[in-house]
């Protein structure tokens, strides 16, 4: 009887092991965090809780970045446009420059990319929350250089990690991409696997 129980347990362990190897391995699990953010319409959202239940593509940007971040933003837009069935997939652009990227600024930026509409959300927050969020997703920034403009305004630019994340419906990080460098077709292929 004892032998049978041991054999059953062994079979159960083998079955569970094989089952776990079939699913996508997670790089991180954001279930243990809760970041209060604000979207381009001034609505408060909680990451990741408010986005559970559907795959999530997240790009990281700042709106004073003319080259790399516009590339990331456009890539997120292209993924949505080229997905055969976007279903309930969610698309987020999160700023790492919350001092300048207010909800109003993000709304105007989103509008320029024709993305101030569902299912896109552009998110900012208080600097401490954004800093904590960026540390968790391993996104680094540093001021690169600045310019004095005619109106005496000081314009500064940031060096930053180039990043898009694919998060599954259970808030698990499945892929971490070079945001501007990854072909849209790869993002779509990976999204279709979820």
């Amino acid at each position: 009887m004892k032998k049978r129980a041991v054999l059953f347990n062994l079979q159960l362990f083998t079955f569970l092991f094989l089952l776990s190897s079939c699913s996508s391995p997670a790089l991180d699990d954001y279930s243990d965090v809760s970041y209060e953010l604000i979207d381009q319409n001034g609505e408060t959202v909680i990451f990741p809780d408010d986005f559970k239940g559907a795959p999530l593509l997240v790009g990281f940007i700042y709106t004073n970045c003319p080259d790399i971040c516009s590339f990331i933003t456009a890539n997120i837009g292209k993924v949505y446009n080229e997905l055969e069935d976007p279903g309930n997939t969610q698309f987020l652009l999160v700023t790492f420059d919350p001092e300048r990227d207010t909800p109003e600024v993000l709304k105007s930026y989103a509008d320029a990319f024709d993305m101030d509409k569902e299912p896109f959300r552009f998110l900012t927050g208080d600097p401490e929350t954004i800093d904590s969020f960026m540390q968790r997703v391993s996104l680094r920034t540093q001021e690169s250089y600045s310019r004095e403009l005619e109106n005496d305004e000081r314009m500064y630019f940031l060096s930053h990690t180039d990043k898009i994340l694919l998060i599954d419906q259970n808030s698990r990080l499945i892929f971490d991409y070079g945001g501007s460098m990854t072909p849209v077709s790869i993002l779509i292929e990976d999204l279709n696997k979820l």
Partner: protein, 152 residues
């Protein structure tokens, strides 16, 4: 200034990533012209007060090198030649390029993630489908005005 007519055979590498691997294919096309020729120009949309970037190919058909020394436009407070590049720590940075040399009989590509014309604080919203003018100042060829279409 002597202007030589010439044609160049351009080889463009088309990169396509595939599951971590990189596939490369080469396509070639021939362009003819003289002096300095600008092709494939476009710029990103931007809302008023924000940033945009313009991209194009510059071909120098001359027997002498030329330099793009400055760029002007009335749609931005400042217009500069910039380059995005990867820092040693893996971050993406941007730096100003004071002058851009266009070697004789060759093409320089301004493209996303690399060389670009940076439009700092645009003075009006640049919407998809509109156009604006850029004035390029070359050391040998002087001013050249280019119509830049805005697109996503």
């Amino acid at each position: 200034m002597k202007t030589a007519a010439a044609s160049l055979l351009l080889f463009v590498l088309v990169m396509a990533g595939c599951s971590g691997e990189t596939q490369e294919s080469a396509e070639s096309f021939e362009i003819s012209g003289e002096g300095i020729q600008i092709e494939g120009a476009w710029a990103r949309p931007a809302s008023e007060g924000r940033m945009s970037a313009a991209y194009f190919l510059i071909t120098n058909f001359e027997d002498q090198n030329d330099n793009l020394i400055s760029v002007q436009s009335d749609v931005a407070q400042l217009v500069e030649i910039h380059e995005s590049y990867e820092l040693d720590n893996g971050m993406m940075g941007m730096r100003e390029v004071p002058e851009l040399e266009i070697p004789s009989q060759s093409t320089i590509r301004l493209e996303q993630g690399g060389l670009h014309i940076m439009l700092i604080q645009v003075t009006r919203t640049l919407a998809d489908g509109e156009t604006f003018e850029l004035t390029l100042n070359f050391a040998n060829h002087g001013e050249q005005i280019v119509e830049i279409p805005i697109r996503l």
